[in-house]
């Protein structure tokens, strides 16, 4: 996935520079683990030339987006604030624009050698019709990668972001769901709205950990996504996300990129039918959580046990 078949200028330079810059990078370029190995902790220590170059590129991307994105978004927002007779039709158009925008962003990140991920590699990997996609969440760009890859996708947006005046027209226009703000019974609203979106033909993306995964770990899963799939009687599609080395996680910020070019991979597992679990969301969650935990914390290894987890 994201195999980098095309020659990309800055990516090409960095791929050749980075291994020379550090011994760790040199080892990583020559060896590949044959067996399932636990995820290594994030790199520590001083910055080398590769990291400084990537930091500069990340800063450039950040400045360019900060300078130009507000203008584009302002026009977009005016359109979203206009009344509409068909909110779902407009939501699909908004989601389409967002999907293309995130696709372009990932193309740019790839071109600049900041993050290796090709969203085109996921075309045809998801089933037709509505489904719930659940994934681990090691880095921020994994959500934009899914947005770039799955059409008609609604997501759960953190309550504080959902309420922000400047973002609200977009999240409401795209018919995203508002995440909980701590009330114990808010799960009811989320489940109800999630089922409603699926019944309207949308797909739903949820990160059952509720927040980004700490490096080398996966937080305990929450049940809402599984309950929604069971109640709506739609397939659940687990996706194993890996980012090696990790970047834009809770611990590794945007402006501290690793020396090696991070590679983001999304491994789409077979869709699961909640009927096979008697529509028991707890059993469905337990199964997915244990498989994602094993698969996400290994570097794409292929032991018989892990192959079984992929089915």
């Amino acid at each position: 996935m994201g195999g980098g078949a095309r020659a990309l200028p800055t990516a090409w330079v960095l791929d050749r520079l980075a291994p020379m810059m550090s011994e760790a990078g040199h080892r990583a370029a020559r060896t590949r683990p044959a067996e399932a190995t636990p995820l290594a902790p994030p790199e520590r220590g001083g910055r080398n030339l590769g990291q400084l170059w990537r930091t500069f590129l990340a800063l450039c991307v950040f400045v360019v987006y900060s300078a130009f994105a507000p203008f584009g978004y302002a026009m977009f927002m005016v359109w979203l604030m206009l009344p509409t007779r068909d909110a779902n039709r407009r939501a699909r158009r908004v989601q389409g624009i967002v999907r293309r925008a995130f696709g372009m962003m990932h193309d740019l990140l790839r071109f600049m050698g900041l993050l290796e991920f090709d969203h085109r590699s996921l075309i045809g990997r998801f089933p037709d019709g509505p489904f719930v996609v659940v994934a681990n969440h090691p880095t921020l760009p994994d959500s934009s990668a899914l947005f770039a890859s799955v059409p008609d996708l609604c997501a759960v947006v953190r309550a504080d972001l959902y309420k922000k005046g400047w973002l609200r027209p977009l999240v409401v226009g795209a018919r995203h769901l508002e995440g909980g703000s701590g009330n114990l019974l808010e799960g009811a609203r989320l489940v109800e709205q999630g089922v409603e979106r699926l019944n309207e033909g949308f797909r739903l993306m949820m990160f059952p950990e509720g927040s980004r995964s700490p490096p080398g770990e996966i937080r305990p899963f929450r049940r809402s996504a599984f309950e929604i799939a069971c109640r709506a009687r739609v397939p659940l599609v687990p996706v194993v996300i890996r980012c090696r080395p990790v970047w834009i996680s809770k611990e590794v910020p945007l402006l501290r990129p690793p020396a090696q070019r991070p590679v983001l991979t999304l491994e789409v597992l077979d869709p699961m039918d909640p009927a096979d679990f008697g529509y028991d969301s707890r059993a469905l969650m337990r199964d997915v959580e244990s498989r994602l935990r094993r698969l996400a914390l290994t570097d794409g290894a292929t032991t018989p046990a892990l192959e079984n987890d992929r089915k």
């Binding site: 009330n183 114990l184 019974l185 808010e186 799960g187 009811a188 489940v191 929450r222 309950e227």
Partner: protein, 99 residues
């Protein structure tokens, strides 16, 4: 009286949430029900709220700020049910008076 209501709530928790390895007498009235203690989650809270409404006629809304407090333990749930039933009885009485 209080012990009976608490026992009914414990039985309701076990039955409505289909807890396989838990008996009503295993649940300590003051232990937290969610995350720690019994380890219930927000979907369990939703199911429990529906079961309480069905059995005791006491309803709560999803945006009630006191939900976390009311659903903290069996003891707090029993207090919530008693208060809700008293409120319902008073409302029925005033409706009877005005009729």
């Amino acid at each position: 009286m209080d012990d009976t209501l608490e026992m009914e709530i414990k039985q309701l928790i076990v039955d409505s949430l289909m807890l396989e390895d838990v008996k009503p007498e295993d649940i300590n009235s003051d232990d937290p029900l969610f995350v720690e203690g019994l380890g219930l989650d927000s979907i369990d809270a939703l199911e429990l709220a529906m079961a309480i409404h069905k059995k005791f006629g006491v309803r709560t809304s999803a945006d009630d700020e006191n939900n976390r407090e009311n659903f903290h333990s069996v003891t707090s749930l029993a207090a919530f049910v008693r208060a809700g039933q008293a409120k319902n009885a008073a409302a029925a009485e005033s409706a009877g008076d005005s009729a």
